[in-house]
Structures are given as C-alpha cells and as structure tokens.
Amino acid sequence: MRFAVPLAALLTAGLLGCSSDDPTCAPKVVVTELECQTAQDCIDEGFSNLTCLDGRCLRACTEDSDCVIDRDELDEACVNVGDPQPQIPICENLRCRTGCPTNACGAGQECVEGRCAFHYESFEIRDGETFVDLTTLGFVAPQADPNEPNIANPLTKIATLGVAGCTLGDERCAGTASLGNNFVWLRYRAASPKGQADTSFTCKACACCLDCLANPPPSGQNVTLATCPGAPDRLWSLPQPLSCPATPPSECSSVCTACDACPNAPPDTIGDRLVSCEAQAAGRACTVCQDCDTSVAMCRNTTCGGPCANPNSTECGMCVDTMCLTANVCTDCISCGESANCRAAMMSTAECADFRNRCLALGDDGCYPTPRNYDRAQLFDLEQALTSPAIDLSAAGPMQLRFDYVGFNVGVTFKVAEQGTDPAQWETAPQEVVVQFCGANCGQDSSWVDGTLVDGSRAVFPPTSRRDNGLTLGSQSTLDWRAGRVVVTIPDAVKTATFRYRFLPALSDGASVGIDEIYVRPAE
C-alpha cells in the first residue's frame, strides 16, 4: 500500500515555483522538499525531470552540468516561456543543490561558480586583463634567505590550452585544463652539478696544478710548465672538478709545488662553494694581473677621475672599460685565457693571434682564469615550490584544500642533483609533489608542515600506483583531471591570517604535474 505524501511537503514544492495552474510551463527546479516514494510521485506533481532521492523529489547528479535544465526538457509549448531555470544549482554529494549567491557565503568567503571558498584559483585571465602570470596572481615565494636573492624556479608556469591546431607540448599549447583554458604546469628545477662559475686570475703554475688534478694525466707523464695547462691531446678549458684527489698524483707534483710560490690572493675573494684544489688555485694570484689591477686603480683615479667621482656610476664603468682595461698589462693578463678560448672555438682572427703571441711571450708568468666561487644552483624548497598568496583563515572553521591534478609521466624515483657533489654519489629519492601548509614565518622552510589527506596519509601525489602513465603535456583529457582530485585537510595550527599552501615538487627532468581548480573551502 502506498503512503500518503504530507500536505506540507506539497506546499513547500509550490513555494519553489511549481504552479498548479500550469505546472508544465512553470519555472523548473531541480531541488524540492516534496516527499515521495517513487519518481511517479514527482511526475504526478509536474516534476517529470526529477527523481525520488532519499524520499524527496530531487535531481541526482555527478557534476554541475547535470543540474542545468536544458530547453529540450521542456514541452515544446513552453520553450519560450520565461527562464526555464531561475536559479543555477550545483552538484554536491551527488545531488543538485542551490548554491551561492542564493545561499549566502560566510564572512571572508567568495562565491565561485555556486560554491563558497576562502580562496579559489584556476589561473585564468581575470576580467579586464589581457595577461596572467604567477606573480600577478600572488604566487610569489617569501624571501628564503635574507642574505641571498631568491632564485625563481623558471620551469613552473601557467600553461594554456593554446589555439586550435597548435603543436602540443609547451605551456603555450598545453591542452585541456580541468576547467577553463589555463592551469599551472609544475616542474622541478634540478641543481646543476657546479653552477655558474665566477672567476679570478691565478698564476700559470696554479692553473696547471688545478688542471692536472682535475684531469689527471696518464701514469708517468709528468706535467711541466712548458706544456700546461692542457695537454698535447687536450685543449685547456676552465676546470670545474666535483672533487679533488686526497693525495695529488705524482705527475702533478712539479706544477703544484710551483703553485705554492705564486703570490697570495686576497682571502676574501675565495668563495665557499669551491672544492679544495679550486680553493688552492683561487688562493694564489698572478703577478701580471696584479699589475693590471694596480694600473687600473691608478687610471681610475687619474684618467677616469671625473666620471669615477661616483665609483658606481655607469660613466665610471664605461671609462674604466675603454680607458683603463686596454692597458697592455691588462691585455696580457687575459691573453692566455683568451688564447685558449680562441683555440677552443677554432678562431684564427688577428685578435686571437695577438692573444696567443702575448701569452707565449709571458711564458711561465702567464695568467689563467680560475673559479673563485659558484652561484647558488640549489634551490631552497621555498624557491622550488609553487607558493600561494597569503590567505586569511583566522576566522575559519574546519577547512580543506581541494584541487585537481594530472601527472605527466611521473616516474617512481629520480637522482637528486646536489651542487658540488659527484653525480655518481647523488642519492635516489621518490618522485612526488608534497602539499604543505604554513601559518606564519613562511619565508623559513622550517615553518612548513606536510598536509594529510582525508584518509590520514601524507599529502603527496601522484600515488605510486599511477606512475609512468606516458601522458605528455597536451595529451591529457577531462578524464585525467577527473581521476586526479585531491582533498587535503588543513590543520587548525596553520589557520592564521597569513595562511599559505604550497606544492613542493621532486620530479625528474621529463616529469611534470598540472594543477588546476584550487579551492580553500570549508570542509564538508
């Protein structure tokens, strides 16, 4: 026997706009309080587009588009009668609901496509703008080390769908986003083994010693000042060894002993990213270049005295370059290094010939460039990560970070490059992207804590079961985004007025991750 439907429920449905005068052409709804036992009860009341879900006439859904009433759902006579659906509902928990702004959001929240959120980012171009990048969106890492300028990770960028027919594979033609046209393409910038060298000049003996230690000759083939640096079968280039032999080979003894006799270089010019044999070479100066330095100093005070009243001015620099560094002694200082460069480039210009002749004339007094330090090539985590703007969560209740992602051929492990370390000794680490949170002092890596997924596990992605998928940038589809939604619980301890989240990648060269549709929103 069927049960009666309470009159109150029927009245509620009427308030939602189901006119009993003309139920067919009345505004359609996908949310009612009308009670039911089967869908027939809904049909009987004119809600032929609804089903009976948990005792109410509702529309079931798996995504927002399911909740949109299409014109073809209306009877033909009603197609042009008003708006078929005055309120755009959303799909939450598999059923259509009325979203915001009809249901107002709490303080500090914005209404995003029917949902309330404290923060939402889809990396799309804002209304009225013609351009978008991570900086303008506020994704700027706080200063990691006050004593060093931040090094950005240039590989992480906003990627865009691209124009029709474009060649897929870079950020300008990156294929489908989770929603809209853009998403962020997260990559890892590996450290180079040495970094960019900053050089000074050392004496020939020390250049030979460093070259010999970095490129040990065959056993018994002693290196002498007459034939070094370089070797008969090897052109010299700036040595950048990753390590130095604990015991110098006997073949290098002659030149390394001679190096000890070279004048000392000012100690404050020797950097801390040098290996020991590099430091030994950088610790010795070359007399000719010292003479050049003296000559330049005099020239700066005399010939360039006017422009160099302000020693940091452009005019001073131009004067020194054109009037002082052209002195013979300065050309001699650089002649051996430049001659080597000419040979390496197989150049035979008059200038190269001049450098070569000058270097030959200097003999054992020639000067060669040597590393005196290296730029920092190892990014701090803060620089490696994609770090959000500060978000005020000070008044928020239980919160979650939700986003969609696609992994592009992320493997299981990779070798972590460590600046100044032999690649053979680099350690293997898991490839992953970690979701981390910070509440205060976010310029310090120690302030960041790993997030946890709703099941309590550490918030890393992609899971190990979804590696090596062969997806390349541009080949992803909506399905790939739908299979990759992550929800991370935001702990109470970081819910401050300066809350930030970050995605910290540890990925191999060929791997990357796309991220889109980021919500910081009340937990359900």
Binding site: A4, Q40, T51, S465, R482
Partner: protein, 460 residues
C-alpha cells in the same frame, strides 16, 4: 492500474493501489582489493531501484556504514525490477558497482548482491624471453586494474604453465578465463567472493567464454568449436557437433543467459547460440562484422562492421534485427555504453593510430534508422577489445602495442550523448618486474606485459 494523484492525497490511503517493497542488502568480497569499502576512494553509495512500470524508480543514498535499504511503494505493475548500486568517489566517478537485474514476483522481494570495486582483469600475451627469470610468465598472470585510474591494483596468478587467452565476467560472481597448459584447454573460474580458483577441462584450447549470472551454463568459443560448461557444477557439458572455423573476435551473452553470440573472422561472421538447446546457427547480419556490444541488463546486441557503414541491432530473444546506417559507421572491436547510448568502436585509420568512435544510433523523423559517428580520440597500437563496466559508463580498450609503441589503455567515460564523452589514453601500468634497457642509445622502459584480453567485474 491508475496511480493515485497527489492532489487526491487525502484519499490516498484508501485508493487501493497494490505495491511491494524491495529490501536490498549489499555484501562485499572477502578479497580486500574488491571490497570498495576497504580499498577504493569510496565517498558515497547510491542504490537505484527501477521497476518496469513507468515512474517506478527510486534512489537511496547510503552512508558508508549502512549496507541495507528497503524501498516501499514499488508498484505491483512492475513485473520485473532492476536493482543497481553505484559507489562514487569524491568526483563522481563510478569506483564500485553491483546489480541484481530482472527481479520478478508479485510480493515483497529481498535481494542481496555484492558491491564490487570497478576493476578490470586483463590477460597477457606470452613473452618467452622472460620465462626463466624466476618471475611468473606474463601469459599466466592477470593484471587487476582500476578502471577509473588505470592503476595496477594487484596481480592474479593462474596455474603454473598456463597460457591465458580470453577473460570475461560472469556478472559480479566470477571471472572466467580460457587458458591452456600444453595442448590441454581449460576454463578457469575465479570466484570474486574469495578469489578461489577452479577449472574445467575443455575439449581443446579455446578463446573466449561467455556466461551470465542468470544461468550456470557458459558458452566457450574458439579452437574450431563451440562448447558448453556448467560453471557452478564445474562440468564440461559437451560441444556443438559441427566444427566452427575462424578466429573468434568478440562475443556477448544475454543477461538471462539463454542466448549468446560470437563474432568470427569467417563468413558469415556471426554465430547465434541457443544455450538451452546447445544449438548454433550462423547468420549474416552485417558485412564483415568487427565486434559486438550488449546493452546493459538486456538482450539487444549491436554488431559493428569493418566493411560497411552499418551497425546492426539484434534482439537475441526473437532474432529481430534493425540495421542502422550512417556516413562513417565502420568499426572493429565494440562495446555498448548505456551511459552514452552509443556503441563505442575502434576504427582502423591508415597512417596513424586507430581511432575510437562513438556510434549513436537513432531514428530519423521518417523512421529511418541512422548512425551518427563521433571520433573521440586515439588508442595506442593494436587495440584488442572494448569492454564496458557494469554501470555502462566506462569503456576500456587495451592496446597490445608493437615493437615501436608501448602497450596502453584507453578509457572512454560519459553519461549521456548530450555530454561530450571524454577519452584518455595512457601507457599500460608499469610493473615492478619491468626492466630498463638501452635502445638507440636511449634508456627505455621495457614493459613486460602486453594485454591480450580484458573484462570488467559486472561488465560486458
């Protein structure tokens, strides 16, 4: 009987319409990977009851601690009732599924069936060079793959020395796998309740078995014969007297288990099997059939054609056929995706990867059966079959790959033809025993497993 209108609800209790209740209990497998409550990203479970009478459908969402539901008020006019349970993840992907279809009876009904994780079981080609490396040979290992994420969940080892050929699902009850050891053919039966394994010796090595939960009798094709087996009793029931030549390309069985069809690569190309009579008849329903898909819960099958622009629908119960014709409806391996109201097929494409197409069947205003063909995207090389999950929303197409191209998995998901179906193709899941090797001075991952045949739990 006319239903009671709500406007007369005050008199409703006295209107006298006869109804029945349906009590549903969801069970789970003892196998952890099949239990969605333990191993899937299960966010919610939805039970849908659909009676055969108009408007006789109702939905109940269960929290994850509830496994039972009772539905009152189902019209007695519904001669049969289908009950389906869907497990969804956070995003709305179907990560678990269960069903009991065509419940009949006039009184109240209680039904119990397992809610299984949406997993595919995939057999592999032999890879002889690895036979003696101490790891089970790929041809005797089934991959168990998550349909949504295409991630490798587990592996199932067949008896030592087994060379698997075809995999198929008997609803949510068993996975059937044809295999051979030496020259002896078997039908392997993997229980989805506990992953227990039994086997039935066949008359010879065969390609593909078809069975439904509606009947214990399986039909097995391949090896130039059609044979029959009682899966529940574990017995070989014998074979159709006449030999049947050709390579078996695809097959389908009606939900009630009374009828089955095979597609073979010899004229006339389609075999219709009356399971009860153990009788086989060959018919020419479409030129150069490429594959066959079964409509969910029913007995309508759809044959695609490799050589014409037709798709032919045949009702297995009565043999009635309708031929739909469209501009570019050719297709090989096929599956019917109820969620898309379309046949999903693969079309060979000269000079490029094969393309997956959705063939939407409809009647024009003048009643002419037509096909609208939509290209969804590419597979990887050598796509083998198309299988659809029980929910009818996801189609999985494994590709064997080639010397130059790795194996892969393509999945198509959609719920209505008005929504653009989404396709994604990715590489076949890697395995811990995969090895890296140098080729043309590049280090490449050598994938040990090349898929041969696939089936999805509760799928077709």
């Amino acid at each position: 009987m006319k239903r009671c209108a709500l406007l007369t609800l005050l008199a409703l209790a006295a209107c006298g319409e006869s109804t029945k209740s349906i009590s549903v209990e969801l069970t789970t497998s003892a196998v952890a990977i099949l239990n969605p409550y333990e191993s899937a990203n299960l966010a919610s479970v939805r039970v849908v009851v659909e009676g055969s009478a108009t408007g006789d459908d109702v939905i109940r969402d269960l929290d994850l601690s509830t496994r039972t539901a009772t539905f009152e008020g189902i019209s007695a006019e519904s001669a049969t009732v289908d009950v389906r349970a869907y497990g969804y993840d956070e995003v709305g992907n179907v990560v678990a599924y269960g069903e009991r279809l065509r419940l009949d009876g006039e009184g109240d009904v209680s039904v119990s069936f397992p809610l299984h994780r949406n997993l595919a079981y995939i057999a592999h080609y032999a890879n002889g060079e690895d036979r003696n490396d101490g790891v089970p040979a790929p041809e005797s290992v089934l991959y168990v793959v998550d349909v949504v994420t295409r991630a490798l969940v587990s592996k199932y080892e067949l008896p030592a020395g087994a060379v698997a050929r075809g995999v198929s699902a008997r609803g949510g009850k068993q996975m059937l796998v044809t295999y051979e050891i030496g020259a002896v053919g078997y039908l392997g039966v993997i229980s989805l309740a506990d992953h227990g394994f039994t086997s039935i010796q066949l008359d010879g090595p065969q390609e593909l078995a078809l069975a439904s939960e509606g009947s214990p009798v399986a039909v097995i094709g391949g090896g130039n014969l059609i044979s029959f087996a009682d899966v529940d009793a574990g017995t070989n029931l014998g074979r159709f007297a006449q030999g049947v030549g050709g390579r078996f390309l695809d097959g389908a069985m009606a939900a009630d288990g009374d009828d089955a069809v095979f597609v073979i690569d010899q004229e006339p190309g389609t075999l219709f099997i009356d399971v009860g009579d153990m009788d086989v008849s060959a018919r020419n329903v479409v030129a150069e059939p490429g594959g066959v898909g079964l409509r969910g819960g029913g007995d309508t099958v759809y044959f695609t054609s490799q050589g014409s622009n037709r798709v032919t629908a045949v009702e297995l119960g009565n043999g009635n056929a309708i031929s739909y014709e469209g501009g570019d409806a050719t297709g090989n391996v096929a599956a019917y995706a109820d969620g898309l109201s379309s046949v999903i097929a693969v079309r060979e494409t000269t000079g490029r990867l094969d393309r997956v197409v959705a063939l939407f069947l409809y009647l024009e205003t003048d009643g002419k059966p037509s096909v609208q063909s939509n290209v969804l995207g590419d597979t990887l090389e050598n796509p083998l079959s198309a299988v659809v999950d029980g929910a009818g929303t996801s189609v999985l197409i494994p590709a064997r790959g080639s010397e130059e191209s790795p194996p892969g998995l393509t999945v198509v998901v959609g719920r209505a033809i008005t929504d653009a179906p989404a396709l994604s193709t990715s590489l076949y899941p890697t395995d811990p025993v995969d090895t890296y090797t140098e080729r043309d001075s590049e280090i490449v991952l050598r994938r040990r497993y090349q898929p041969r045949s696939a089936a999805i739990v509760y799928g077709r």
